[in-house]
């Protein structure tokens, strides 16, 4: 028989458990809420080098929005975001369809397409900056081989430099889209496909009519996650072009960092961060609404 325990109050006995659950969770939740609110508050103050109280209304926001740096960053984000999302989703889908053809060495190929994701953006950005550097990389190689009129100098071309980021970002993360699409392709009901085959439908028709339409929910998920990644892109650009040449490849995340830590304009930096959050919400809120509607439909079905 066990010795009788001393009678402790219930809450004292359960204190360690409360602490282990609540302390980390509360810290996590509290820091997310309070830090965000604090940054929003700072964005309305005249803070420069140090945070100060005061109220300047939307002046920081108008200053950020009127700056050339932000305008270029915003235009770049629209271009980079849409080009990257469309092209990486397309690449991922093509890779997934190719891998879905019961080919040999599927596992090895899948690993090859996914490995860039495991590596830091700093590393991949550095490597791509070498490959795309006209004096060092692909252009130099082709020149050395004898084709001296070959030009591939996007990295130092103001109008084309943003595309080098698109290229590197696609290489880095279309494997992720592939993984999701592949999971989707594999979950299509085999009986439906077999029935279509018996009816005489060819593989192209089966893909167009049966398989691809069923991938819509995955496509939307891929697009939203890639957009979210595009909006917060920082490391890749920092390593690949550092926003250059000039400010031609500036992106919002770099503008925030520049304002906060290089120019010590805390109020404006906070305003730029809040603008980033708003851009993100413009993507995530419709997605959340769509997910909610889908769940409800599933619940009633």
């Amino acid at each position: 028989m066990r010795p009788a325990r001393p009678a402790l109050p219930e809450w004292v006995r359960r204190l360690p458990e409360y602490l282990m659950i609540w302390v980390p969770l509360l810290l996590s939740a509290a820091h997310l809420v309070s830090f965000s609110l604090w940054t929003i508050w700072i964005s309305f103050t005249p803070s420069t080098l140090i945070p100060v109280t005061g109220w300047v209304g939307l002046r920081n926001y108008s200053a950020v929005a009127a700056s050339r740096n932000w305008q270029i960053a915003f235009d770049n984000l629209l271009l980079f975001g849409s080009a990257f999302v469309v092209l990486s989703a397309a690449t991922g889908l093509i890779l997934a369809i190719l891998l879905d053809q019961r080919i040999r060495g599927e596992n090895v190929l899948r690993s090859i397409f996914l490995y860039p994701l495991a590596v830091s953006f700093v590393v991949t950005g550095t490597v791509w900056s070498w490959l795309l550097n006209p004096g060092l990389g692909i252009q130099k190689l082709v020149h050395d081989l004898g084709w001296t009129s070959f030009r591939f100098d996007w990295l130092i071309d103001r109008d084309m430099a943003i595309w080098t980021i698109v290229i590197a970002a696609i290489w880095q993360s279309s494997g992720f889209a592939m993984a999701l699409f592949l999971a989707g392709l594999r979950s299509v009901d085999a009986d439906i496909i077999k029935a279509a085959q018996i009816d005489g439908a060819g593989p192209v028709r089966i893909y167009r009519r049966i398989i691809l339409p069923s991938l819509w929910p995955i496509t939307i998920t891929v697009v939203v996650i890639q957009l979210q990644f595009a909006i917060s892109t920082f490391d890749l650009v920092r390593a690949l072009t550092n926003g250059g040449p000039g400010i031609a490849t500036q992106l919002p995340a770099l503008v925030v960092y520049d304002l906060m830590f290089q120019r010590s304009l805390l109020g404006r930096g906070a305003a730029a961060a809040v603008l980033m959050l708003l851009i993100l919400l413009a993507v995530l809120l419709p997605y959340a609404a769509w997910r909610y509607a889908q769940r409800r439909r599933a619940a009633y079905a």
Binding site: S28, V119, V122, N133, G137, K140, D144, W171, A239, V274
Partner: protein, 285 residues
């Protein structure tokens, strides 16, 4: 079987995947080859080329020789920094996430869905919203420019991912198991140690791999909250490429890039299946 025969269309498919695979491997191959070429060799030709003789000295220089600013200790101290941040932060965030996920999914308590909802918000909020507050908090508690500060940040931020992963895994555990254990007099922690943890192998592997790669590869916090000798390897790599810009040392830099990428590449090679599971779990749930 029809699909196995070598029809023209199947040859085309193999050709396409092989070409793309070569393109995907090319950047890695270029860096590996460059890490074995001398700087003169690279300067004479391009970054793309075969090594004339294997310049292993690049690795020695990258590991412990080259200079960033006035210190000439190579990449070694920064690798150590990254390890000292990544390993504890991965362990803490995984363990706390497992307990939180277990409490939320199987124990239930007042306000759990609210807390859980807010914590998972951390997956979406941009890091930039938290940079200034973290600067002030770290300064006030004396952890600015320390590795401990980065461990703290990554542990708290990591909870968003680890709690989500573990919670989604634990909801599938039958509640009867917990109820029976409670009737037998087992408490919160005893159930966790005796029942939940032994069942958690797969999800803990996913979470650890996910957190390790995430934290090792992180750059923004490293460059914002640490300087000089305290920086993780991602931040040091950027400082290195700026430092050698006037006298190009691409051979040594390539070796440094390989060394810095090695831990996560190894983890990916060893646990690729779990890495993918982590990716898709983070995406679909």
């Amino acid at each position: 079987m029809r699909e196995r025969s070598f029809t023209p269309s199947r040859i085309l498919i193999y050709l396409a995947v092989s070409l793309i695979a070569v393109a995907w491997l090319a950047p890695l191959a270029v860096v590996v080859l460059n890490s074995l070429r001398t700087n003169e060799e690279i300067a004479q030709g391009s970054m793309i080329g075969w090594p004339q003789h294997l310049a292993w000295a690049n690795y020695a220089a990258a590991w412990s020789g080259f200079c960033v600013a006035e210190t000439c200790a190579g990449i070694r101290p920064y690798m150590l920094n990254s390890a000292l941040v990544t390993i504890p932060a991965t362990i803490f965030s995984t363990l706390l996430g497992a307990i939180a996920g277990y409490a939320i999914s199987l124990w239930r308590f007042r306000g759990d869905t609210w807390i859980y909802g807010i914590v998972t918000l951390g997956l979406f909020l941009p890091q930039q919203m938290r940079l200034l507050p973290w600067t002030i908090v770290l300064r006030d508690i004396g952890l600015i420019n320390t590795l401990a500060g980065l461990v703290l940040i990554h542990t708290i931020q990591g909870l968003s991912f680890t709690t989500l992963f573990c919670r989604n895994y634990y909801v599938a555990i039958p509640h009867e198991l917990i109820r029976a254990a409670r009737i037998d007099g087992a408490g919160f922690f005893r159930i966790f140690w005796r029942i939940i943890l032994p069942l958690s192998g797969p999800i803990l592997i996913v979470t650890v791999i996910w957190q390790f790669t995430h934290i090792w590869n992180e750059f923004l916090y490293g460059v914002t909250f640490t300087t000089g000798q305290q920086q993780p390897v991602t931040a040091a790599l950027i400082a290195l490429s700026a430092a050698v810009a006037d006298i190009p040392q691409h051979g040594v830099q390539s070796a440094a890039v390989i060394i810095a990428a090695l831990p996560t590449l190894l983890i990916y090679l060893l646990g690729g299946k779990y890495f993918v599971r982590g990716l898709t779990a983070g995406a679909v749930k």
